[in-house]
Symmetry: C2
Subunit: 246 residues, 2 copies
């Protein structure tokens, strides 16, 4: 099984944590989507990561991939059992992928991390201030009502939805923002529990290697850290403007 | 079971066709999301339609709702059986909801229908030309490879994914655009088959009543046509700017 994507992307990280929890071996082509070649566009027509290639099966979209993993490799489960719970899990994940994706990734993280590191342009502080002062407090107010008082959203074991939120708030932290534990105690404690899942915590040092290594050295550094790096890559030499890497 | 949404929305129509195929009785609160009240925002924090309320279960997002319906009311199935097929169905639906949503709804239909009818502003013909001359041909080229040569995506019976594409291309038609059958014969024939599904075809006269009735008369007209209109509504008197009705 091959994953195209990297540990800094919240969508790719979600899949990588799911694979680790399910003890599924994989190799990885750790590209940044902006750098994808035409072969990447053929595999992922929306130029999104992650992409999963499992024999004849090629899949895009982290939610689709996680549902596939849960159906093809059922143990341990990453979805609750009852239809109403499964539906709520899917809806919360969709909320995160859409709304947290919009605010945390495409405003906060884009301005603070992607613009300087990929496009070599400065951050727009007005966009960041709107995200942290208006959008994120609204999201946190909503999440404080949804978050579980103990353990995880659907009981003692973490599900895909718990991993999903952990990933987005990790990107918020990488962009220098975290929610106030005094203002949203239940949500903040739940996010911390999600980020303490061993398979999630194990992604942090890899993410740091990815972010600090020079691009030319990245795959070697990640291989030295124990990752099975794919022999083939769909990554190119320079980022492309005008694509739709969501 | 109550559905909040209307037959013109491709996302709401998808759910309404699924309910019809499964012979599930429902009542409808046929609002336009821009007109939603604060109660609508509480039920649907992204201010999207459709919303499903089934006893204690309140769900947003058409894909989440259709998966719930298929798990809670399995016959007839609207998802294929094998994990790899289910994953492909979900990915094609996600592609449609994202990419066709972006181009057909938020460029073509928004300019041609929503702006004049909801916001009383003229269409931007440049936006429409980009959608019809650049984006839609690219989408159709991709879809020509994905569309089945006969019947539906996963065999003799239509699934949620077939309904999904039927809905988006109906909105394209309402905005005055249709794909060229000489250029994309396989995709166009498949879209036609999907739109001939009786439960889909039955939505067309209702959609026409919705689009032609004055807003104050709409619910009465729809009730006269046989729809079970909900006694309560989360629709307001005027549209709101600055919301996120995707």
């Amino acid at each position: 099984m091959r994953i195209i994507g990297n540990h800094v992307s919240p969508y790719a990280r979600k899949v990588l944590v799911a694979l680790a929890i399910k003890r599924i071996a994989f190799e990885i082509d750790p590209i940044i989507p902006f750098f994808g070649t035409d072969d990447f566009t053929r595999l992922s027509p929306l130029r999104r990561i992650p992409v999963l290639v499992d024999g004849d099966v090629t899949l895009c979209d982290s939610s689709v991939i996680c549902e596939y993993l849960d159906e093809a490799y059922p143990a341990p489960p990453l979805m609750p059992a009852a239809p109403a719970d499964r539906a709520r899990a899917r809806w919360l994940e969709e909320y995160a992928d859409t709304r947290l994706g919009d605010v945390i990734i495409w405003r906060l993280f884009q301005e603070r991390v992607i613009k300087p590191s990929v496009w070599r342009t400065p951050a727009d502080e007005t966009v960041i201030a709107t995200a942290t002062d208006q959008d994120l407090p609204g999201i946190m107010n909503w999440l404080e009502d949804e978050a579980p008082a103990a353990a995880f959203m659907f009981g003692a074991a973490p599900m895909t939805v718990d991993i999903t939120f952990a990933c987005f708030f990790r990107n918020a932290a990488l962009a220098g923002w975290g929610p106030d534990a005094a203002r949203w105690p239940r949500a903040v404690a739940w996010i911390a529990r999600c980020q303490e899942i061993p398979e999630f915590a194990a992604t942090i040092p890899i993410e740091q290697l990815f972010m600090t290594a020079r691009r030319a050295d990245r795959n070697r550094v990640l291989r030295d850290a124990g990752l099975a790096i794919a022999a083939e890559t769909v990554g190119g030499e320079a980022p492309r403007k005008g694509v739709m890497p969501i």
